[in-house]
């Protein structure tokens, strides 16, 4: 099986979808003349023309709304928000419209749209290095996906484009270059299904997106020390599939939730709550969460490194859980 990057996997899925369905088209900032900000759709204008790959003015709310209108009128827009941070300007369109139009109007209209939201960090500072996964995961009517492997990236992008509902597709720029085995042919990975990536008996580590490859590294190191960690990759944040998490937790009775977000009130908080409510009988130790320190992201590299999670943060949290220590989360 070919080994390709996460970014190439996304590109293949988008390309396949463009070929398979002429209703699919891409809008965003710098997708035509610049050939896409991060290069995910590089070469598409040449292949599909500037009718189906369209540059937008800097007007996130406007073109998010435009995409919603086009979706209601039968097209399948893929809206590239240059970054998650800029999508804040379109939040009303996503939350009040994409998510609710089907419900509010009694099922008359569907909004089959994909919002691609690259997020991540890398010396881009406070307003350009954030995760708002929980904002979207909070909203009924949205489907929110955040794959962590190239295989899932390809299959979930295709599934997102084919889905009749609005899908928020969170792409962590920090894993665009991560490589993995990806079939050449087109396929889908279902939205709303978590995945047991690695079985283990000592602790269940729950993660998604960028944290998935990081947790895989951590698990390997833990194995060297004789600690057998299971990994459940959520892949979808809404609708959330807790089954593989609970199933693993029944065996391990311990959990660490590793997400790249401010820990308080994040996606991880929901997972912890579900573990307490759905898995109460199996809890043997406090559940720990790993995330950003709760400060706006600093610019200087050493400061940035100090506040983001690393494989060592996951390893440390696992050891704390195994030692039965309680966690105190600080908001400074």
């Amino acid at each position: 099986m070919p080994v390709i990057t996460f970014m190439e996997a996304l590109r293949q899925a988008l390309r396949d979808a463009m070929h398979a369905d002429e209703r699919v088209f891409i809008i965003g900032e710098d997708v035509v003349h610049y050939d896409s900000a991060y290069g995910v759709t590089k070469g598409f204008v040449k292949e599909f023309g500037d009718k189906r790959i369209r540059d937008m003015p800097i007007a996130e709310a406007g073109y998010a709304g435009l995409g919603i209108g086009a979706a209601m009128n039968g097209l399948r827009p893929v809206v590239e928000m240059m970054t998650t941070n800029f999508a804040l300007l379109a939040l009303d369109m996503i939350v009040n419209h994409a998510a609710k139009i089907h419900y509010m109007f009694g099922g008359q209209f569907t909004v089959p749209i994909v919002f691609r939201l690259p997020n991540g960090y890398g010396q881009l500072s406070a307003t350009h290095s954030q995760a708002f996964d929980n904002y979207y995961a909070y909203i009924p009517g949205l489907k929110v996906v955040a794959p962590g492997t190239p295989y899932d990236a390809k299959g979930m992008m295709r599934a997102a484009i084919e889905d009749p509902d609005p899908v928020i597709f969170i792409e962590h720029t920090g894993i665009y270059s991560v490589k993995g085995e990806v079939p050449e042919e087109s396929y889908t990975v279902p939205i709303g299904k978590s995945n047991l990536l690695r079985d283990g008996k000592d602790v269940t580590i729950v993660c998604y997106g960028r944290m998935t490859p990081m947790v895989q590294q951590a698990a390997e190191k833990l194995a060297e020390e004789g600690i057998d960690a299971a990994i459940v990759d959520l892949r979808t944040l809404r609708p959330l599939d807790m089954e593989p998490v609970i199933e693993s937790f029944r065996k391990t009775n311990r959990a660490v939730i590793a997400t790249e977000e401010w820990t308080s009130v994040g996606v991880g908080a929901e997972i912890a709550a579900r573990l307490y409510t759905e898995g109460f009988d199996y809890i043997d130790a406090p559940i720990w969460r790993v995330g950003f320190d709760e400060v706006p992201m600093p610019y200087a590299k050493n400061l940035e490194t100090a506040v983001v999670p690393h494989p060592e943060s996951v390893i440390d949290a696992v050891k704390q859980v195994l030692a039965g220590k309680t966690q105190r989360i600080r908001q400074q």
Partner: protein, 324 residues
């Protein structure tokens, strides 16, 4: 023959304006009786709405209205029964089946798509509907409306800019009644006419008397032709009057003088058109009585029908979160 056709057309305009007014008045009565939680009015906008909507092809062109556009949706084919079902949030309401507030009109078969309550958000949707039509080569026009208060929203600016860039078949229709709930126009904008802004988007802006149905109709016809030719959008600003409070939750006496309301009432578009038709010999007493009786019957029927209709079944409350 042409004269006869014109007369029929003019009487249909009158009937629709009267119907909108009567239905609107009934909704306020029901609100005051505690039978309708929320009403937002078209009164004073009937000429603008009917004049504009009659320039469109019902069920073919797309209409993306705002909450005052009762006259528009009736003209496009929504029935008084359907309007009343929405007002009372009944199961059978085609707009939403009791899931959305009244006056957020939406009707798939009539190509009516509405907004949620943050105003102006429907305008980018209209542009997207227009883009889809342009990409497929569909021969449609998209008509969208909003008040002058909403014209201050960034979404409206972004949408008009997008439509200008792509020369989309969209008609932006601003119903300017001088008030954004309580804020008068002079405190909303530094220009006299909302239509003046069209120049900034590269398409024409036209100001019309929104209390003159014929003037609005003519301007909208011209905008429709322009859009169908592929020449792109037009912004039409119809200067209207607001004859009621903003909504049933508002008391406009706290911010509006009696003189102001009196001056607006003197411009009542329904009365104006009725006077015109009478003086032209198009509307005689017998015809007027017949029209008014039919409307009264339709409004009574709609009220009775909606009152008797069942509420939505709570067992269905989780339907439509995701597509089925």
């Amino acid at each position: 023959m042409k004269q006869e056709r014109d007369q029929t057309h003019l009487l249909e305009m009158y009937r629709l304006m009267r119907l909108a007014r009567s239905l609107d008045e009934r909704m306020w009565q029901l609100n005051r009786q505690g039978k309708a939680p929320f009403v937002i009015s078209c009164q004073g906008h009937e000429a603008a709405q009917v004049g504009a909507a009659l320039a469109l092809r019902a069920g073919h062109d797309w209409v993306v209205p705002y909450y005052r556009d009762l006259g528009v949706v009736l003209t496009m084919g929504m029935t008084p029964r359907e309007v009343m079902l929405a007002l009372m949030a009944k199961a059978e309401d085609p707009n939403s089946g009791g899931r959305q507030m009244p006056a957020h009109y939406s009707h798939r078969k009539l190509n009516i798509v509405s907004h949620s309550s943050p105003t102006g958000t429907q305008v980018p949707h209209a542009v997207g509907i227009g883009l889809a039509a342009q990409m497929r080569g569909d021969d449609i026009v998209v008509w969208t409306a909003y008040g002058e208060g909403t014209s201050s929203q960034g979404d409206v600016h972004e949408a008009m800019n997008l439509a200008g860039v792509m020369k989309l078949p969209v008609i932006f229709f601003c119903e300017n009644n001088g008030y954004a709930i309580s804020v008068p126009q002079r405190k909303q904008m530094g220009v006299e006419n909302v239509a003046d802004r069209a120049a900034g988007y590269g398409f024409p802006g036209v100001v019309v008397d929104g209390t003159n149905v014929l003037e609005v109709h003519e301007a909208t016809m011209a905008a429709v032709e322009r859009a169908r030719r592929g020449d792109g959008p037009t912004l039409i600003e119809a200067k209207c009057v607001r004859l009621t409070a903003h909504s049933s939750d508002d008391n406009d006496r706290t911010y509006r003088t009696a003189e102001d309301l009196k001056a607006m009432k003197a411009q009542d578009p329904v009365v104006k058109f009725e006077t015109y038709l009478t003086s032209e010999g198009i509307l005689d007493d017998a015809t007027k009585t017949k029209i008014l009786n039919e409307i009264k019957e339709a409004v009574n029927d709609a009220t009775k029908y909606a009152e008797a209709a069942p509420l939505p079944d709570p067992a269905t409350v989780k339907r439509y979160v995701f597509a089925e």
